[in-house]
Amino acid sequence: MTERLDQIFVVLKHWLLGYLPESWQTPVGVVISVVCIIGLYPALFAITTVLERKGVGRIQNRLGPNRVGPYGILQPMADGIKSLTKEDIVPTSADAVVHFLAPIILVVTVFMGFAVLPMGRNMVLVDMDAGLLFYFAMGASTELSVFMAGWSSRNKYSLLGAMRAVAQMISYEVALLLSSVVIVMMTGSLSLVKIVEAQNHYSYGLPHWFIFTPWGFAAFIMYAIAGTAETNRSPFDLPEGESELVAGYHTEYSGFKFALFFLGEYVAMFSISGLGSTLFLGGWMAPFAALQFIPSWIWFFGKLFVSMGVFIWVRGTLPRLRQDQLMNFAWKFVLPMCLLNLFVAALWRFMGDGWLRWVVCSAILILAYVSIGREGMRRKQFGPRSYRYAE
């Protein structure tokens, strides 16, 4: 029974394909999977927007949307209808072709990343040899669409926002890649399916996820920071800082094109969380051996939603960084830590089993964390904190 529930989507697809002639099965199978991905993630996006508006509302001590449907859960429907019926305004001085192409390219490249993510046991569109490389290649292509959007609008806020976004994405992409390279070093494969399999064993009922090692934990922290910056989320949302740049690179977009940018941002968050849970949190694996009877896809999407929750939580609590802080943080803190982590991972590999490597690797990382942090703070000369309360 559990086995069948685990494979329900795979079985369903094969059952559907069984009605087709032999030569049609492969192309139609691909189309079915692609349609599922393209249908599923916008639906999750709709759910997440409600969660986010409700969650951030609670954090900011207000109710959030509560007018459309019970508890405001039909809000995304209203938003969708609104963005579909709004007039699509293109500025007269804008570069019409590039302005039109930018949101489309963004959404296409963002969705491409899901092609290699394993969403459950046997649930991956293409098991590529170079899956991780494919994912990052697609991620790198989104930068260009952001630039296209900002440049073609012929608006200084758009251009500034796009330049900020591109600079930020390039800087943090280095960290993103370097923190993932550690996993590749350990598993010896770029295939995401193999990376999940490498974590797929338990001892004493507990999983062997990569996050539960010193180097894995450090890499996960760096990955989370870089992933947040890659998706332009708060506290790294300078490209869209509304107090400075109106709305950044999508200032001049309205109607459905704006909705596409919005969709692209959230789907990119899903995708980066999905990759993060695949690399560090065991992908579709259960967190305890005893819970393996629950289908694998529930675990994958559960992890996805937990990380979305963290995204929302961080957005509600942290203030936005300044441009120089952002760059300093990327190049003076995250990058050195990632490079050091590569050495630590190599050390871990060659020290063999035993408790000694836990001590040595953790000590190196903690020491580096403290000393780089202290060194960075030393020049800042912060005084003691003072609080002022409203009278």
């Binding site: 001085s93 570069d95 590039v98 590529m128 040899d129 170079a130 490389l133 494919f134 990052f136 290649a137 697609m138 991620g139 790198a140 292509s141 930068e143 260009l144 630039f147 296209m148 440049w151 012929r154 608006n155 200084k156 251009l159 500034l160 330049m163 591109v166 600079a167 390039i170 800087s171 992409e173 280095v174 010896g188 494969s189 770029l190 300044r322 441009q323 120089d324 760059m327 300093n328 990327a330 190049w331 003076k332």
Partner: protein, 198 residues
């Protein structure tokens, strides 16, 4: 070969031609990206996954962005009045045609001497990694040193600028090799306004 090959080739060649012929520099840069993408697709068509994805990652993700940044930072996005074509375009055309002829001749000459393999050689990413880390480790290290030297040089150039100017917008950090510009923002704003006036 077949239809797909010709479609991809048309894509790549069309992008490259547009990159040369378009008047607006940013359009030309975007067209060049299309050419890069077409090349990546050609690699993928030859089952060279690593080369194809590396092509996208490096050229579309980094080189195209670098080109675009360079155009915007150097006030080059405005179209000059006397057109983008230089007066010596005929000589340039002759030289490039000559280079192309020599390369084509060399390739044609070399083709018969290659071993005639009927089966497609299968090289996995794993094999490439092993080769890079064992047999070709010295060239890899040399390239690594070269690439490390480049950011160091870029940082030094950027630091010089900062000392002279006094930081106005706060230190932009050591700066990446690709984004190390002392003055953020100011240039872009003035430039957009100028292009708007035209």
């Amino acid at each position: 070969m077949g239809l797909v090959f010709y479609l991809i080739s048309a894509f790549a060649v069309g992008g490259a031609l547009a990159a040369v012929l378009l008047k607006n520099l940013v359009h030309a840069a975007l067209a060049l990206t299309i050419a890069f993408f077409g090349l990546a697709l050609l690699f993928l068509r030859l089952d060279a996954q690593f080369a194809g994805f590396a092509q996208i990652l490096v050229y579309v993700g980094a080189v195209a962005i670098l080109v675009v940044f360079a155009i915007l930072l150097t006030k080059g996005s405005e179209v000059p009045k006397d057109g983008v074509f230089s007066k010596s375009w005929l000589a340039g055309l002759a030289i490039s045609a000559g280079v192309f002829a020599v390369l084509a001749w060399a390739v044609m000459q070399a083709a018969p001497s290659l071993p005639n393999e009927s089966a497609v050689p299968s090289v996995s990413v794993n094999d490439i990694g092993n080769a890079l880390m064992s047999r070709y480790v010295l060239p890899l290290e040399i390239i690594a040193v070269l690439l490390t030297a480049a950011p160091l040089g870029a940082v030094i150039v950027a630091m010089h600028e900062k000392a002279g100017k006094q930081e106005k917008l706060g230190a932009p950090g050591p700066g990446s090799p690709r984004t190390s510009s002392g003055s953020w923002g100011g240039d872009f704003v003035s430039e957009t306004w100028e292009t708007r006036k035209n």
